[in-house]
Amino acid sequence: MSDSLYRELILEEYKHPKNKGTLEKPTCTCKKSNPVCGDEMTITLIVNDGIVTDIKFSCVGCAISQAAASLFTEHIKGKKVEEIENMDEKTILELLGIELNPMRMKCAVLVLRAVAGALEVK
């Protein structure tokens, strides 16, 4: 059996996610859901001077969506909004370091859609 999808990194991020929770005073927030599996992701973030200074996600969902959210929120923290605007599915896949079928891709990009919604860029 190929366990590559569930390599250590993914499981570690799933079990001990970074940036999980809700910010008390966010400047932007957005909730997106994945109709295929019903996962729901809420992003709260703070933009200060064009930079995402803090971000948290709250989500009930599968290991892939949780791991992607943990890695992506960590990746964009401290980056400029315009830089984040240019990120897409590829960024997520690079962070996860795995290949995904189209169904699981929807799980992985849920965080991207929620962040985009919060920043109102996409």
Binding site: M1, D3, L11, G38, D39, G61, A63, R104
Partner: protein, 394 residues
Amino acid sequence: MNIKEDFPILKDGLVYLDNAATTQKPRMVIDAVKGFYEEDYATIHRGLYPLSVTATRHYEAAREKVAELIGVPSNNLIFTSGTTEAINLVAHGLVLKKGDEILLTPHEHHSNIVPWQEAAKKVGAKVIWCKLNGDLTLDVDDIKKKLTKKTRVLAITHVSNVLGTINPLEEIIPHAKEHDTFVLVDGAQAVPHMRVHARRLGCDAYAFSSHKMYGPTGIGALFLKDLSLVPLCTGGDMIDDVTQEGSVFAENEPRRFEAGTPNITGAIGFAAAIDYIEKIGYDVIHAHEEQLLRKTWKALEEQPRVHLLGPAPETHRRAGLITFTIEGAPPHDVAEILGRQNVCIRAGKHCAHPLHQYLKLDEGTNRVSFAFYNSEEDVNTLLGALQKVQEVFK
């Protein structure tokens, strides 16, 4: 019983356990569809040439076969695209009034919820929900209490697609009829597994799908006692006359609800699937599925991280499906890991969000559903694969 040989797709060791979603097709059905296209295909009801007469005869024979299967007159058997369209046909065809109540159960699939919500919204009717008992079976006393003269419709599933429980319709329907309530039964999960006699049940409408019982997709059936409902879809073949001023619809005939060229080939395949089921026999099907159910239930029950949903097979009549969660392993990941081992199960909320909300299972659940082509070996493969899941999510 080497049934798997009848199913071309199962030949390479595929362990297919998502039969409540849709079933695989036996050679007999595939051949019937192919043969019809190659030899007898033409339009029906209109052509005057011999080929059309033959096609019409096959289509109407299919109607008779489907009607006979559930013990209803063929004149009250409407072909639809499936259970969903059948329920929409009834929900919108009944023409509800403001103040009407529609009683639903938390066991319903979205297909027996959304059409009622939409029909109710249009006129200001009200959707009412019954309760469940602690073991997740229907609270029949609550249903009785909520059936009043205001209850225009009771829409209820025969077998829950999440819990597998066979609902006690024999007990419930007479109470609904005391209040003159229209009773629609969603039989999508029942007819594939057990002998159903829709007329004896006393319901007004009974809907089911071909693709869940070894037949083609895109075809299903609706038994409808009263054919005076307003047609959901209008057009050719459902009229008696059309002028520039207006149209006269066919009356007291199933074609009133079958506008346009129907799924003729689908009906032929549906009939072949019924022939196949009858050849095997419901007794054999039920006994075999029951055996798989009990074996799997018992094995999963012994695993400390597995939580099974609904009543045990010993305590409640149920069809061959099991829904469960595994502590620490999200359902989508479970299904993915099993899929990589050639084992197909369903993960998610199974088009039953209200039931999952009721159960507070936000992550969804895993569902294993059997067909009679599944074997004990399939169960062993499943159990082995589930072991691997638990190793990945230690």
